[in-house]
């Protein structure tokens, strides 16, 4: 005899509801989803194509120049250069371009949606209360779980990879924008109001400038989170460095797996170094 009453063991069909919902979407809006998917796929592929036209060495030199321009640090420039040359040497240049394009797009999408959402949440307490559990869910639910519906809605390819990546990465810019805006000191807001700032002016001239460092941190996080999704995105057919990893996994190819993994790590390190906020002590005007 079990003590559990029967109505407790009678299964609530949560899974079924989700399935019905997704099927409803695929049945009724399949065309729209495919259309959207095709456009995105087209844009991403053309970006990759254009980036591929540039000679790798030119691109590597450009990135070295960029890192010097941003950080004025020769050691970093040499590191970036050597890392990228190693990728080229290993033969993963094309996949690297694809991965970077995917990261770029998912970051753009996340930021374009995430920053306004963060701002709105910061101005409306109820909205943040509403968004918070959803954000928690997006960050904690295992990514494999939402691969299935995205796959069903968008088909195989870059787009489901992009969507999954965005779902995983977008909470960072939302949260950090929210944090940046809500932590503006009250006296600065008061000063803005006292000199006649409208809501929009308050946002552009007080809140956003104050929140900028935090928002930039959100952007960096978003990029790194996107990069961490490359292998999973490859599972739904996204091109990039994830693909050789998956292939290596399926064929138990240690050599390939290690090389592709190394390339991902190099991309991560290069991005991290490029994006690092310039050291305040070095560039500050104090002294």
């Amino acid at each position: 005899m079990s003590l559990t009453p029967e109505f407790l063991t009678e299964k609530i069909p949560i899974g079924k509801w989700v399935k019905i919902f997704v099927e409803y979407l695929t049945d009724n809006f399949d065309e729209q989803f495919r259309f959207f998917s095709n456009i995105l796929e087209w844009i991403i592929h053309n970006t990759i194509y254009l980036l591929g036209l540039i000679d790798p060495i030119v691109l590597i030199l450009f990135l070295c120049g960029l890192s010097y321009f941003l950080h004025r640090n020769w050691k970093m420039v040499i590191g970036v250069g050597l890392g990228l040359i190693l990728i080229l040497n290993l033969g993963y240049w094309e996949q690297t371009i694809e991965t970077v394009a995917l990261v770029l797009f998912s970051t753009v999408v996340s930021v374009v949606i995430g920053i306004p959402l963060g701002i709105m949440a910061a101005h409306r307490r109820w909205l943040f209360t509403l968004m918070r559990p959803i954000l928690d869910l997006m960050q904690t639910i295992p990514t494999f779980v939402y691969l299935i519906p995205t796959l069903m809605l968008f088909g195989l390819g870059m787009v489901p990879g992009l969507i999954s990546t965005v779902i995983f990465a977008i909470p960072a810019p939302i949260r950090l924008t929210y944090l940046g805006i809500t932590s503006v000191p009250k006296q600065l807001v008061d000063a803005g109001k006292a000199f006649g700032a409208s809501k929009m002016q308050l946002l552009w001239k007080v809140e956003l400038p104050h929140a900028l460092p935090t928002i930039m941190a959100g952007l960096t996080q978003c990029i790194m989170l996107s990069l961490s999704m490359v292998v999973i995105a490859a599972l739904v057919g996204a091109d990039g460095l994830g693909k050789p990893v998956i292939r290596a996994l399926n064929s138990v190819n240690i050599a390939q797996g290690f090389e592709a993994g190394l390339a991902i790590v190099i991309v991560a390190i290069v991005l991290d170094r490029l994006l690092k906020q310039p050291d305040v002590r070095k560039t500050g005007t104090g002294g």
């Binding site: 008061d190 000063a191 000199f195 006649g196 700032a197 001239k205 400038p209 104050h210 900028l212």
Partner: protein, 394 residues
């Protein structure tokens, strides 16, 4: 004509201010209302009129509602009940009920503000901070630059224009705050404890600067302070607040010489009399002087050593000391006390500060006749008057 008028203003913070107003009307106290309704009565029934060109100081202990009242003047705080009338372009505008457009206009043209913690934008240079208000108002770049340079020169910070606030000392930062407030050429200046975050020496220095600037600019200033010395030094009108209510409004002399209740008296007792009193408030008026030789002559001291005869207009005619004639020398800042001859008395006018009276009394030990603008004897400051000034029962 008053420039800012607070009419029976209530400011209540909390979930449901209208509950609190009802309870206030039925006579409930602040604590009772807070305990029952979670509404905090920050200001209750405050009425105050500030005239053109005046420096009105709101004084009181922490939490007495000074900032809350001040911030009603530019709509930073919502007025729960009552009116805040600001005169602008010969029109009376009620800040408590006007629309956003009007409020915006008041804030950009009529009222500006200086904050306790400076509230400068750390990402803007000194220059851009000063131009902040003008920028919000859409003033064209060239004109903006010209005004900003002018205001920076006014607070003597021209050389610091391209620095960031954190590179400046506190005193300099607040001068930036002041320049920012002056830049919009608003006639009304709200200052919420602008000097409280500064060292005492810097504070006095900035007070002096403000007085100098005010001589030139003739703004209408509402100034919050919790320091009576500061209030007496700057204020031409002082309003003392206690637990959300204005308990006394008056000139500095009125506050010092006639405190309305114990709360005000405690403030007055803790002030530094040397800084605030002058001969007008110290002196024993001529009517209270002992008379000698019938009704015509006055004794300037208790022992009747100095005798002064007055002419028919009340001007000192002849002063004698033990039979010898004594002449009067008016007090001046650069008077060399050591080199004065024996047979003179230094006379004061109404504004001569207490510090001077004490110094002269210390050097000569002699009474100091107080002479008004048209030359009449109106009182005397001697050792006794100085002591009672220090003890606070002048």
């Amino acid at each position: 004509m008053a420039v800012v008028r607070f009419n029976e203003v209530d400011v209540i913070f909390g979930p449901n201010p209208s509950d609190a107003t009802e309870m206030l009307d039925s006579g409930a106290g602040r604590d009772e209302i807070f305990n029952k309704t979670q509404n905090l009565v920050a200001v209750h029934n405050a009425s105050l009129q500030v005239e053109e060109g005046q420096i009105c100081v709101l004084m009181g202990l922490s939490g007495s509602g000074k900032s809350s009242l001040l911030r009603c003047a530019n709509g930073l705080n919502k007025v729960t009940r009552g009116q805040v009338i600001v005169r602008h372009d010969d029109e009376d505008i009620d800040v408590a009920s006007c629309d956003w457009q009007t409020l915006h206009q008041l804030r950009t043209e009529r009222i500006s503000m200086v904050f306790q913690q400076f509230a400068l934008m750390p990402w803007r240079t000194v220059r851009d901070n000063v131009g902040f208000g003008l920028e919000l108002d859409g003033v064209p770049k060239e004109k903006l630059g010209r005004i900003v340079d002018e205001k920076l020169a006014l607070v003597r910070l021209s050389e610091w224009a391209h620095k960031y606030p954190k590179e400046l000392s506190g005193g300099m930062q607040q001068r930036v705050g002041l320049a920012r407030a002056l830049a919009t050429d608003a006639g009304i200046l709200l200052m919420d404890e602008p000097f409280s975050a500064l060292d005492p020496l810097i504070r006095e220095h900035l007070q002096d600067e403000l007085i100098q600037l005010q001589d030139e600019l003739k703004k209408t200033i509402i100034f919050v302070s919790h320091d009576l010395d500061e209030a007496l030094k700057l204020g031409s009108l002082i309003a003392i607040m206690d637990a959300g209510k204005i308990v006394q409004v008056g000139t500095p002399e009125e506050i010092v010489s006639d405190p309305a209740n114990d709360y005000v008296r405690r403030f007055v007792a803790s002030m530094n009399p040397l800084k605030v009193l002058n001969c007008a408030s110290l002196m024993r008026p001529v009517s209270q002087l002992q008379t000698v030789n019938g009704n015509t002559d006055r004794a300037l001291d208790m022992d009747k050593k100095f005798i002064c005869s007055l002419d028919d207009k009340g001007r000192p005619d002849k002063i004698t000391h033990a039979g010898t004639d004594v002449s009067l020398i008016p007090f001046e800042d650069d008077l060399d006390l050591e080199s004065l001859p024996h047979n003179v008395l230094v006379s004061a006018d109404l504004e001569t500060p207490m510090r001077a009276a004490v110094e002269i009394n210390y050097v000569f030990g002699l009474p100091m006749p107080v002479i008004d603008k048209i030359g009449r004897l109106i009182g005397v400051v001697g050792t006794e008057e100085i002591f009672s000034g220090i003890l606070g029962d002048a």
